[in-house]
Structure formats: C-alpha cells, structure tokens
Amino acid sequence: MSDPAVQTPTIPGSPRGGLFSRVIGDKMALTSIIVFVLVLLSALLAPLLTSWDPSRADLDDVLAPAFGEHILGADGSGRDVLARLLYGGRMSLLGAFIALAVALLVGIPTGLIAGYYQKWFDSISSWSANLIMSMPGLIIVLAVISIIGPRMLSVMAVFGILLSPGVFRLTRNGVQSVRKELYIDAAKVSGVGDISIIARHVLGVVKAPLVIQAAMMAGIAIVLQAGLEFLGVGDSSTTSWGQMLNEAFLNIYVAPLMLIWPGVMIGITVGALAIFGTALRDAVQGTQSLPRARKTGSQEVLPAAIEVVDGALRDRDRRGTLLSVEGLRVGYPRADGDTSIVVDGVDLHINRGEVHGVVGESGSGKSQTAFSIMGLLPTGGRVLSGKIEFDGTEFDAGSAKFLTSIRGNRIGYIPQEPMSNLDPTFTLGSQLVEPMRRHLSLSRAAAKTRALELLDRVGIADPRRTFDAYPHEVSGGMAQRVLIAGAVSCDPELLIADEPTTALDVTVQAEVLDLLRSLQQERSMGVMLVTHNFGVVADLCDRVTVMQNGRVVEHGTVGDIFDAPQHPYTQMLLDSTLEGTPPRAPLATEDAR
C-alpha cells in the first residue's frame, strides 16, 4: 500500500479561534464592548468630567433648563443632572457587578459538581434551584430590604443568589452534555484526575454560554436595581439612575423631559450588554441571518469521468425512462461570499421498475443529488443549474412548483436515520395517515385501515400497538419499517432511499433489504438507492452510478461495474472492500515466520 496520509489535503484552517478572537472579530460585539467600557469610564472618571457635586441642592436652580449653567439642566431639588448621571452610574454598575459576581460564585461551582458527580448533590441542588426560580424575585428582595434595611449593595448580593439558579442550570447542563463525549472517556483512561478534566475540558465548552448569560444577567441586575430605587425602597441619600427616574416621575407633569437622561443611560448600558450577548451567541452558534452568495465558485480540476457506452441499451432506456437528470449543479454559500459546489454537473437516469444504485464515499454529493431531485435541500443549499425529467414532464431542477405536487404521491423517500426522522410529538399512526388522507382523499377510517395493512406488510408484529405508539417507544428497526411504510403508502412510481440500512444492525439490514426488494417487485417501482456499501449494491441494484467529489465518474449495469470497472476510482473502491480478504492466521503461526 502506498504511503497514504501525507498526500491527503487537510481542510484549510480557520484562524485558531478562541473565544477572545471570535469576539474581537465580530464588529457588533466589539462595538458593544466599547460602548460599555465608555459608560464604565464615565462613571469612574466622574470627578474629572464634571465639577458639580451630585448631592448639592441649589434652590435657585430648581428645574433649570439644559445648556445653561447646568449642561443637562437641574432636577427638582436643584441638583445638576449630568453630575447625578455620572455618579449615579457608579451605584448602578457596582450593584450589578456584585449581583453578577455572587451569581457566578454560587452558580458555577455548584453547577460543575452537580453536573459531574450527580447523585445526591445533583438532586438537592437542582431542587433548590427550581425553588429559587419559582419565587417572585421582586417580593423576596423587598422582604430582604425590610430585614436589612435599604443597603442596596447587600440587597444586590441577595439578588445575585436569586440569579444563581440560571447560572447553575447552564453550567450543569453544559457539564452533562460534555460528560457523555468520548474525549472525556479517553481522558479518564489516561488517568487524568476529575478536577483536571473539569478544569480543562468541561470549562472550555461552557465558557461561551456563560459569558453570554453573564452579560444578560448584568443587564437584568441594572434594571432591577433601578426598579427598586424607583419604588423608593432604596437609600435616598445616594445617587443612582433609578432615583433620578423616581424624581422625574414626581415632576412628570412639569418637566417630563427629565425622564430621558436616566432612561437613555440605562438603555445604552443594558443595550450594549444585550447586543454583546446576542452577537456572541450568533458567533458561537451560527444563527445569524444568512449571507448572500456571490456568483462564481472555485473548484479543483478532477480527471474526466469516463462514459461507459451503453449503445443499444441506451436507446431502449430512453423509452422507459422514469427519471432523467441533466447537468445538475448544487452549491452552498460560504461565509466569505463564495459558493461551495457539492454537486458539479451530474447526469443520471433511472428506468421504470429499475433499482439504480448511486454509490460514493462521504462528500461525493450522492445525498445532495437525492435531495435536489425531491426539492428538499437543507437550509442554504441552492440548485445552480440542471434539468429534470420525471415521467415525461420536464422542468428546471430548481423550480419548486412541480416537485411540490409530486412529493409523497409520486415520489417516496426513505431516510437514513430512523429515530430523528419521525415527529416525536405525534403517534406513528397519525404520521402515516395524514399524507394518505391528503393524496388519496381517504376518510379517517379508511386511511387507518390502509395504514394497518401497510404496517403488517412491512413486517411489524403488532400493527395496532405500533399505530398508537410514539417514536421513542419503538426500536430503530421498527421505526425504519414504519418509515418505509410511509414512503410507499401512496403508491409512488419512484422511491428514493438514502442509505436506508446504514444505521441498522447487519441482521436487521438483511431483512430490510429483503423487504425493499419484495416491495419493489410487487409494485414495479423505480428505486434510487443511495449507498456507500457495494454489498448492498450487489444485492439489490440493476444499474449503478459511481460518484466522487460531486461528479459522476462511471455508470453502467451492475454486472459491468463489478466485473469490469473502467474508472480508477471505481476500481479503487472495489479493491478496498474487506469482504473476501483472507482471515488473519493465529498468532503462533505468525511468530513462527
């Protein structure tokens, strides 16, 4: 065997993106951080920015208008508004900081321990967290004030405890999801201690969501503190934004404009935190609005596909053609604006009653071709060009209209993974019945009868019980049979099966392949069978198309492909199968060599 690895290209690397670099890279996040820092600085540097004393009440200046001696005017007691804004920021930011610090200090360690070790600590702490989250926070805070007096900073510490369940839950869930990952098992096998595992592996994953949540909580804390001060339960001698709003309220009929300044400050500060949070969340999860794709795409040049000439066979095919695809091109827009081509000029044709295998490895574009034929590409996928002919009707590969009318009743689809392809909130029966009622105009009772017959036909032992069951109540093999029943329920002419047995055990696979064969023969359906397994191709298919990197490299009858493969890639694939390779001799004989 030739030296494989060094030639295989790796995917071009994106910059080593830690959390920090992702934040700096994102314009929104960066702007919001700058805004927040400016607010913070204005509060800290208040004495430098204004010479007025925020508590100095000057009766001559009561409700003085803006742009006079007082830049932003004076309030109902003659105090300078700008000074109160700047100094007030200190209170608001400090209080929020304390609440946040307490929430994190309480929530993170408890979340880590509860998530990692579980058992009794988890039960107790989860229950306590639920308890705290169910309590109306404001009332509790008010009650706390009545106990300890209007000491706002202590109150904010208590509020931090009220916020901690959110942090606890986030951390705990993060830990639990990571615990199941195999690299944690690998670390354990290497003898890495629990604390190291938590510190190195778990925290790294939980970092980003925690930062986002912290930003949101800081915002909530600022607003709550302002609310408390607005109610008048805070310390009236200290300056804060909430106090200013309270005073503005008292003068609402006389000087309503005084509402604006503290509101704007709160809005900007909390807004900056919120924007930072959402920008970061989008960067981490990728739920932004999608970018628009640019026209051209780039693609490396591959050796040309070798046409296997069918000759007379071809002419005969054309008369009985069920599906014909010509020049199909499919692409996905990349973040940088270019398009990544996944299907690059594919031709395919399937005759009536023929089982046609589409074989390739991962990245060959075989599944994308299948999705395009049904008009069901995943989000972001676009058909760039191509023509499809289905049973005599020709249409553009990208047009949705015709495809929508034939899905379900003339084309059936069998997916790969049984469990994730069933709606968990509806019974299996109702999911079978709904399409039949729509396409075949059956009454509910007639559809149910037909569904039960189908379930029996596909080999389900107790059709009635399965009809009323939910997806999570049946096994993978049963679920796949139900999906097959659904695919053939409206008597389609073409069946598109996307790796229908890959997720199943080998003995179940054999049974399902038998089922597909008998269904196909019974109903004379054309089948497009997408697979990577040549054994399956040998078992079921009449003709085969081999794909690599989005292109067709070879196609022909199943006999031709197996006996005399023409393209080097096909030859390589067939050589790679392990069926028929000699078994290894026992150890003693090897040593004796």
């Binding site: 109306p136 009545s146 392809n421």
Partner: protein, 313 residues
C-alpha cells in the same frame, strides 16, 4: 400522565410550604422591634411591651410559627400589624387588579410573540432582523421607564388614555379595558421581545430537523407542517419561557402600579416590606407562590399534553 400531574402538584405544595417557612423564620429572627415601629417613637416602654404581648411576640418562635401555620391552613392569615385590616380581605381586594394586568399581559405576549417569532424564523429577511433588534430594545429599556414615557405621551400630552386609576370589570368593561392598555403595553414590551426571540430560535432549530424534511417529502401541506408539526415541537421551549416570564411579570406589575396609581398589591407590598408587617408579608408571599405554582402546573400539563416524551421526565 396522572403520575406526572401528582408529582408536580406535590412539588408545588412543598414549595409553598418551604417558602412560607423560610420567610417566617428569616423575618422573625432578624431582630428589630415591630411593636415600637407600630406605635412610633413617642410610645412609652409599657405601651410597647403591651403591644408586643398583644401580637404574641414574647412567645417562643416555634409556637408563634405553629399558631400562624394552623390558622393559615384554615384560611385565616391574621391581620396587618399596622392597619389592622385582615390580611385575606386586603389581598382579596387588591390581587384581582394585579392579576388582571398580568394575565392580559401574558396572553398578549403569547399571541404576538408566537406570530413574530414564527414569521421571523420562516421568512428570515427584514422581519428577522426586526425581531432581533426589538429583542435588544425591549430588554434594555426598563418597563417602568416605558410606562413613564407612554404616560407622558398618551395621557399627559395627548390625553387619549387615562393616566391613573382602575375601573373594575363589572362596573364598566370598556373603561376597564382602556385603563389596562397603557400598563399592559408597558409590561409587554420586554416580554414580547424576549419570548419572540426564544420562539424564533426554537422554530429555526426545529425547521432544521430531519423529521421536517421527511414530512415534507410525504407531501403534506405547508400549513399543516408549520401549524401542526413545527408549532407543537416548538411549544415546549416556548411555554417554559412563558412560565418564567409570568414570575417576572408579577414583579414588574408591582412597579408599574406605582406609575399608574393602580390599587393592586404593589403599594401593599412596598408598605408591608418597608414596615416589617409580618402577617401581611406572609400573606403576600404565600398567595404569590401559590399563584406561580398553579401557573407552572398548567404550563407543565400543557407541555406534557403536547410533547409525549416530556411526560416521562
């Protein structure tokens, strides 16, 4: 299903019990001199002592707790130390006001947020951006500030809607409704914003799922796909958000009532807590927690009915 319901019910009862007990203990053990607070600075020592005895403050704490608990279970929460009005009756007068605001607010939120969130998720484009921007604004501006601005514009300047006061539903339904417009509008800006975002996120997530593609391959109608399948799957996280919003709304309503001078529990709560009026505080806390428990129970039931997998949890 029954087991699930009972489970939640028992948790709820335990919750009420624990919260009440904690509140009682914390407040009673915190020192201070309620008797003096009630009578004021000018009272003499004997008067204070007499008042303390009258309120039962000399008794050991567990006895006081037991007394309170036994009468509370019969519905008698005692009387306010400061106003002498029976706690239950003052709550019965004021709670409906707050409740009507909160319930209308949550219903309005549920409706508008669902429409906005689903549309944003399905259509993307400008409405998607709008929802995201709106979410930030709604989060950043305190709802009582929005209330103040609304009052200034609609009530003071334009004089279209009443600035203060509350008309009970039975007296005049249309006036009742008008009186609710501004308070509810102020409250829901924040909740619609964040709920819409959650709904949008949940819907996007579900639209990406495999079973949606399989359903589409069966050829079911777009409406059925969206309103029957997608919504049912998105309901669970949406309802969870709503239950959290409800708890927040209760707090928010308290503050809003000050702006609109509504005779709800807001002023009751502020006074009781600043004065240390224990029976009143306890009554308030218990009723609030019971309310939260009921709402959470209803939401849990709805979630369990919509999502069979959740019933097992």
């Amino acid at each position: 299903m029954i087991r699930f319901f009972l489970n939640r019910l028992i948790s709820g009862v335990v919750l009420v019990f624990v919260v009440a007990t904690l509140t009682f203990m914390l407040m009673s053990l915190s020192g201070g001199n309620p008797a003096r607070n009630i009578l004021g600075e000018g009272a003499t020592e004997e008067q204070v002592a007499a008042k303390a005895a009258e309120l039962g403050l000399n008794l050991p704490i567990f006895e006081r707790y037991w007394n309170w608990l036994t009468s509370a279970l019969t519905g008698d929460f005692g009387s306010s130390w400061f106003t002498n009005e029976p706690v239950m009756s003052s709550l019965a007068n004021k709670f409906p006001v707050t409740l009507s605001i909160v319930i209308v607010a949550i219903l309005v939120t549920a409706l508008i947020a669902t429409v906005l969130g689903v549309t944003a998720a399905v259509r993307r484009g400008w409405i998607d951006r709008f929802v995201q921007v709106f979410a930030v604004i709604g989060f950043a501006l305190p709802n009582f500030w929005v209330a103040l601005v609304l009052v200034t514009i609609f009530a003071v300047t334009l004089r279209l809607l009443p600035a203060t006061g509350f008309t009970p539903f039975d007296t005049d339904p249309s006036k009742w409704a008008l009186g609710l417009v501004l308070p509810v509008a102020a409250l829901v800006t924040g909740t619609i914003a964040s709920t819409a975002q959650q709904v949008r996120g949940a819907t996007i997530d579900i639209l990406e799922r495999d079973f949606v593609r399989t359903l589409r391959s069966r050829g079911i109608s777009k409406q059925s796909l969206l309103f029957k399948h997608v919504l049912r799957n998105a309901a669970s996280p949406a309802l969870t958000v709503l239950s959290l919003q409800f708890v927040g709304l209760l707090g928010g309503a308290v503050i809003i009532e000050k702006v609109f001078a509504l005779p709800g529990i807001g002023s009751l709560a502020v006074n009781a807590t600043t004065q240390g009026d224990l029976p009143q505080i306890l009554g308030l806390v218990v009723v609030m927690v019971v309310l939260v428990v009921i709402v959470n129970l209803l939401i849990d039931l709805a979630t369990g009915w919509l999502n069979p997998k959740a019933r097992v949890a």
